[in-house]
Amino acid sequence: MTVKLKAIPRPHLLLLAALAGAFVLSIFSDSLDPYYLDVLTGIGINVILAVSLNLITGYTGQFSLGHAGFMSVGAYLSAAVTMNLGPRLLGDSGGTALQQNALFFAALVGGGIAAALAGLLVGAPSLRLKGDYLALVTLGFGEIIRVTFQNVDALGGALGLNGIPPYTTIFWVLAFAAVTVFVVYCLVHSTYGKGFLATRDDEIAAEAVGLDTTHYKIVAFVVGAFFAGIAGGLYGHFKLTITPAGFDFTKSIEIVVMVILGGMGNTMGVILAAVLLTLLPEVLRPVAQYRMVIYSLILIVLMISRPQGLFNFKWGRMRKG
């Protein structure tokens, strides 16, 4: 099975354009309806999560149910940084907007690095396993991370952290979403990145031609976890309160569903699916009681009728189970 990926010429120019767009939008954000701004922020965070999981599951073929765990690591670490270091570094006045944003950026990257380390810790031993078993182990690690947070009193225990400063702006969310898409796109389309696809398509053949498939799996895990951590930081500073229960495996499944519906290994499709699945609960708000029933029915029907994903129009690209 051949995998053809059409490369977009000059992706870095697109990245710059997207960053500029995010900046312009953030200037006008005051005149926008706050409701739409919130929905857009939610979409951006989900795009980061889905695209980063797509690197692990879609491009490298490793089914992970622990993405919410990595997200929680980033959320907790960055919130701890801004809440504890913030007042000390910026003083009582809270500092200027520039100082706040610099601190926030550092906290986000710190959260991402912590999540990446967690990804390394989880990935290195468990990537020997395949398919269902890997899914279970990642689920297990996600749950262990959650129970651990529940038991650390310094991080609020089961009640979680409250009063996180509201640093997440539409600019940060869209900028990081653009960076995530850019990094994953460039990684997969590089010569080096062909290894991810080879690992997915036929691991035994890839090993036979001398590819270190374990290396590719770990890189995918670490990069994916890094961006999940960033998304967690953005989420925490957007919702202003985080609890361990908010990062249980239902959240992981939500992200997996975005990747599968988008068509695994199809960045554009995954972005569209993330947008759609974030909007769906908003659209179904009038029938809130039946929201999840409808959601799960749609999921089953879609899996039966369009198993290749909603936005994947090339059936031949799917790998065999």
């Binding site: 089914f63 031993p125 468990s126 020997r128 396993l129 398919g131 269902d132 078993y133 899914a135 279970l136 182990v137 689920l139 297990g140 690690f141 749950e143 262990i144 129970v147 651990t148 529940q150 038991n151 035994i204 499944i253 997996v256 569903v257 599968i260 695994m264 009681q289 039946y290 999840m292 029933v293 959601y295 799960s296 029915l297 999921l299 089953i300 899996m303 039966i304 198993p307 799917m318 790998r319 065999k320 189970g321």
Partner: protein, 296 residues
Amino acid sequence: MSEFIQQLLNGLSLGAIYALIALGYTMVYGVLRFINFAHSDVFMAGAFMGYYLAKLVPSDTMLGGLAVLGGSMIGCAILGMAIERFAYRPLRGAPTLNVLITAIGVSLLLEYTGQVFFGAAPRTFPPVFPERIFTVHGIVISSSALAVIVVAGFLMVALEIIVHRTKIGTAMRALSLNPQAAQLVGINNNIVISFTFGLGSALAAAGGILYALNYPSIDPLMGVMPGLKAFVAAVLGGIGSIPGAALGGLVLGTVETFVGGSEWSTYKDAIAFAVLILILLFRPGGLLGRSTIEKV
């Protein structure tokens, strides 16, 4: 010492419930090679069927209790077969991942349909069996904990007989060994798979009732954690192996009860997953399973 035996008994009775659920996971994995995530919600459905059936029979009688147990097992067997027929059969031969997501979809559907019909608030499960407390040498054991061990033991022996001594059981084993070859010798795979789902779901229903007798608060999300842990038990014993599932359930239930009684009790829910990770890393085939080598 008596405290140790007390904890061991509690652990065994929790473990027997895990074992009953684990058997359903392991049988479905044996014939179809996928994790039936919806199994834990069949367990929940079993408890709720028991809740409503208990209103129809005289309470606190042995016969009434057995009627509730049997009725809910039959009801869940039908539910399990319906799930297989409408959600999984159209996906026969599709990539594992798609079947897995469908199973998650069915699981969510059952949970949230349950919330719409039964409400999210927990309900108290009625004591359907006559309740007695026995005290032997300072060890307290309730009749419901005893019922769990007796009923679970009986069902496991019955299952063992079905799988090894009947025609349909032989067909099940043939199917799990090699589906194509089973079809060639004239086994109707669809009927066998349907039967497997029915059998597994009936055991889950029994597990649900027994769980509800010991922890008499039931809600639509009650299946999630016991279900996950039962799956861990199935993997621990060696997935696809029926005695393995029973052993895994008992081991997991006992370990969890002992951890719950120690100073690490708040980490109780994490223990199952730590056990899972260790077993998969060092003995991926499970305690009683065999690991297979992948051939090209």
